[in-house]
Amino acid sequence: MTRSTKRRLGLILIEIIVVIVGIIYIYPVFLMFMNSVKPFREVVTDVIALPTRLAWETTATSLTR
């Protein structure tokens, strides 16, 4: 294996690791946004699942209250 191939493979490995770490790192922020547009019942029953529908009621309530 040549030096440049080794370097390229190393870069790909670093990229994969950084992207995985980045996804885990940003997940709590994503979770906050996701739960803000989830119907309340779904937030209570399953906090990590994706919303079945986008519920903008809470956003509207927070803006108008």
């Binding site: 870069l11 790909i12 670093i14 990229e15 690791i17 950084v18 992207v19 770490v21 980045g22 790192y25 940003i26 709590p28 922020v29 979770l31 906050m32 739960n35 399953d46 906090v47 990590i48």
Partner: protein, 296 residues
């Protein structure tokens, strides 16, 4: 004679220009500090008109009263600071090194790691409280991994690590930016010359990159030291100092004593002691790092 008059006028101008800043800084920092030093020698609840002068009674009370939590909060804050400084700087440096490599998503990833830093500590505390309580419980239901079923904020030992973890998670983006700036300032030709001479990647990193990055390391170490010594809002949002008083930092202890227990004099005494503690610690750390700087 004319030159002397000009000098005098210049001096008056200097005084006039600096006076507003001096007055502002005095009103916001120096006068409250001197008043705080005075209140530390009094018994005062912060409401009554006349504070009662008691000399060093508050200071004696802090060190002799078995019910005082101040020394425990100093121990907690010291442990937190050590963990925060070491982990935040090592992880930030590792990520900065990775993010300065040339790959397609590098810029996007830099943004990703910076996002938590621009969020309010209270919101960060709220998110993580939610994850530690409900998020991990749901993950445990799905995976049956025992590690996810621990009481992350209810167990005194785990609560310490949880609080430290959230603090590191929130602030790491800032240190990454500082390290990236430092790494980008290192001349490429030195690294290329070392590579041509047969130096391995590790040798280059520890013998060239780290010494040349030392000003950034000093800055990050100092910033992480001061930020962790001031930790307050993340603990208030996550655990409120609990369980019991296991995660009460000094700043939270001072806040509680002064504004919740209405012992303004005792709170002021605690803040004066902490001021001296922080002053000595930062001077020690700065001296240690500046010695290393000279040795380069």
């Amino acid at each position: 004679m004319k030159q002397l008059g000009m000098k005098k006028q210049e001096h008056i101008e200097n005084v006039l220009f600096t006076l507003p800043s001096v007055i502002l800084v005095s009103i916001t920092i120096y006068i409250p500090f001197v008043l705080s030093a005075y209140y530390s020698l009094t018994k005062w609840n912060g409401i009554s008109k006349e504070p009662v002068f008691i000399g060093f009674g508050n200071f004696i009370n802090i060190f002799t009263n078995a019910g005082s939590n101040f020394l425990n909060s100093i121990i907690f804050t010291t442990k937190y600071t050590l963990l925060f400084m070491v982990v935040a700087n090592i992880v930030a440096l590792a990520l900065a090194v990775a993010l300065t490599q040339k790959f397609r998503l590098a810029n996007l990833m830099r943004g990703v790691f910076f996002v938590p830093y621009i969020m309010s500590m209270t919101i960060v505390g709220f998110i993580w409280k939610f994850i530690f309580s409900q998020g991990f419980a749901r993950l445990f239901e799905m995976t049956n991994w025992d590690a996810l079923n621990l009481s992350w904020l209810g167990n005194p030992n785990l609560a310490f690590y949880s609080v430290a973890f959230v603090g590191i998670w929130q602030s790491i983006g800032f240190y990454i930016v500082l390290y990236i700036a430092g790494l980008q300032a290192i001349p490429r030709d030195i690294l290329e010359a070392a590579t041509v001479d047969g130096a391995s990647g590790f040798k280059c990193f520890f013998s060239i990159v780290i010494p040349m990055l030392w000003p950034s390391i000093t800055t990050c170490m100092f910033m992480s030291l001061t930020n962790s010594l001031k930790v307050f809002d993340i603990i208030l949002a996550l655990t409120s100092g609990g369980p019991g008083k296991a995660t009460t930092s000094v700043t939270l202890e001072i806040y509680r004593e002064a504004f919740q227990n209405n012992n303004y004099g005792l709170g002021s005494a605690e803040s004066i002691i902490y001021f001296i503690f922080v002053l000595l610690l930062t001077q020690l750390v700065l001296k240690g790092f500046s010695k290393k700087d000279v040795g380069l």
